[in-house]
């Protein structure tokens, strides 16, 4: 898993400067363009002029790319291009929702651990360490098997497996913010916990969380593909890139295009998120490495 925790927290750069820096980074822009492209494809899937992704055609089983089917057809004669387009929805959703789950649960826990310290911190940290010690994919496989094979359950499984890294990050960031003079000052004048967290902690931990979230979306998309590849993700007839690969591996020789397109698409969208996350880190990290 890509790890942004090594970057020591420091006062963030102002948003406008960060934005300017991001815009000047061609690699990050390439990443953003890739992500935007796939988001657009996923959003426009219902209106794009492609066949029904579940419509079968017994006369066109595993046909190579042609004018009628630009990306070829699959094992029961469905249009691969159309399934790729609709599959973008599943993959992006899996990435975003699972990271949403991880952030929604992980960040509050991390802040709690870092803010209150003591037993709260010890308890949360031990659980986090225990979760981190079980390999990400194995945890996700076990959870997905427990919840039953479906896209929703895969997202929950990935979200829970990705949670520890956000707990750790939020905890570390909170702890370092807490040592700042202005926070001690705020405490001295009797500001409440909620106000301190809202006014000082959250804005300071937001940039690294954003960077980590972007990078984790990339990991989560691959994780969804991996679970689908094991039959634990999106279930047919609905398409997802990972489940398309799961089927395609049986037809590598007869229909290599079935494996080629989903693999390339996963690669591009994950690369997009990685480039974007990387660029964000450069733009938001004041140390200018």
């Amino acid at each position: 898993m890509t790890d942004a925790t090594l970057a020591a927290p420091a006062a963030p750069r102002s948003p406008s400067r960060a934005w300017a820096k991001l815009r000047a980074n061609p690699v990050a822009l390439l990443g953003a363009a890739l992500v935007l492209f796939f988001v657009a494809v996923a959003a426009l899937a219902p209106v794009l002029p492609v066949p029904d992704p579940t419509a079968t055609d017994w006369g066109a089983v595993r046909k190579a790319p042609s004018a009628a089917h630009l990306f070829g057809t699959d094992e029961i004669g469905r249009d691969v291009l159309s399934r790729m387009i609709w599959g973008a929805q599943a993959s992006l959703l899996a990435g975003v929702v699972s990271v949403g789950i991880a952030v929604a649960i992980g960040v509050p826990l991390g802040i709690a651990a870092g803010y209150w310290g003591g037993w709260t911190d010890a308890a949360i940290s031990r659980v986090t360490e225990a979760l981190l010690a079980v390999p990400f994919l194995i945890l996700a496989i076990a959870l997905a098997a427990f919840l039953g094979p479906s896209l929703t359950n895969a997202m929950i499984a990935i979200g829970l497996s990705a949670m520890p890294i956000f707990i750790r990050l939020a905890r570390g960031q909170t702890m370092s913010v807490m040592t700042e003079d202005y926070v001690e000052g705020a405490r001295a004048i009797g500001l409440g916990h909620g106000a301190i967290i809202g006014r000082y902690v959250l804005p300071n931990i937001f940039p690294p969380i954003l960077v980590q979230a972007t990078l984790t979306i990339a990991t989560a998309i691959i994780a969804e593909a991996s679970l689908s590849f094991l039959g634990l993700g999106q279930q047919p007839p609905s398409p997802s890139w990972g489940s398309m690969l799961n089927v395609a591996k049986n037809f590598l020789e007869q229909a290599p295009w079935m494996a080629l397109w989903p693999g390339i698409a996963i690669f591009l969208v994950v690369l997009g998120f990685n480039l974007l996350g990387d660029g964000l880190r450069d733009a938001l990290d004041p140390r200018e490495l």
């Binding site: 089983v61 029961i76 098997a145 039959g231 089927v247």
Partner: protein
Amino acid sequence: MTDLKRISLALALAASASFAHAADLRIGLQEDPDVLDPDQSRTFVGRIVYESLCDKLVDITPDLEIIPQLATGWSWSDDGKTLTMQLREGVTFHDGTPFDAEAVKANIARSQTMDESRRKSEVKSITGVEVTGPHEVKISLANPDATLLAQFSDRAGMMVSPTAAAAAGADFGLNPVCSGPYKFVERVQQDRIVLEKFAGHWNAGEYAFDRVIFLPIPDTTVRLANLRAGDLDMLERLAATDLASAKADASLKVEQIVGLGYQGITINVANGDRSKNPLGQDARIRQALSLSIDRAALNQVVFEGAFAPGNQPFPPSSPWYDTRFPVPDRDVAKAKALLAEAGHDRLAIEVQVANNPVQMQVMQVIQSMAAEAGFDITLAAKEFATLLNEQTAGNYQASQIGWSGRTDPDGNIHQFQTCQGGINDSKYCNPEVDRLLNEARTSNDPAVRKESYDGARAILANDMPIIYLYHQSWIWALSNKIDGFVPYPDGMIRLAGVSMK
């Protein structure tokens, strides 16, 4: 010579040496077998290993006739309740223990009484084994049992060394000792099982290889790639979709035969509350669903036509197949009419299916076909372990599942469609069907049995608790250096007479 060249030459020599072990036969299996104890074993793939490891009392021909193996002859008493078997002389187990009548007695007792035995139901009819001579046993039965010899041609008839079995108890499978042509050397889980030739086998001359190595490689594509690369000499269960490319490869040859099993859709007709729906309660709807399926097209699309479309527990090529009920053509109009007659315009049903790509593909094709006749099928993909659980518990409406098949017809139908059948998960129950299937079980006259099965078919073709779809073909791909391999409908690999050029 430069160093680099010398190294690469050395590497090349070493590589050729490591591949060339002419007297080894390397067989690619689709799964890793479970425990290697014939009395405890549960998997199809395990039986493939036993075929070389353990001799059985009797064997079958490719036409399913029972022929001698460790028993050289047998006869039934007039009332069909006593089976007298003459045993082969001069046979020893791999550990040197002699094979005799006492060994047979101990083996049957083990199958019947060991806690972990999975063979209990197969030898249930046996009430006693009497040693009537050093090489003769008299087996008494509670009632005539037409299936017994067929059971003896499979795991229930495999003879393990009584000495080793007594010493190892339930752990016998860690180091199995039988009397087959090859003996156990080692097993590395998920990697390989190695057997080596047993020189003391009674028929050792028929077995050409010094060692047989079974390698579980679950991915069909990878298995075939290994065969092509020469890392395997043969493999079982080639994917039907790889048939064309394997046939086109001059270095390979392919053998195939329609198997004994079937694939179908089991409908929950009386297994708890989830049977309380139109599909479970109204036979016309099940008939409509069956009629909406184009079995020939299904076979073509998913299996490139290599399997056999079917509508009964036995394939159309079987002597037990009832020709009065041929595989139906697709008839959407009639399916719609039946559905309308039952009071439905469209009907939503949920079918659970194992989440492997091939079964999913089958069900997606059926989903699409049935939609045209008015069925809105939702597929509930489950892991196989969960699927079985739900099916046993009755927590399903319809379930796509199959059966690997048994030599005796009884094994394909009795336990599924009799009221108390051990794996009757649809909980279908009809006293008349019970009577007919019990009758078929207790007669040793094939004509009488056929009549009973036909009688049951007439009822089941109407009630349809299982919608049969197709019969899998066993497909083996072999290096063309392998000679003498004979395909058997039970899917086993019998190595007698098999050699390498």
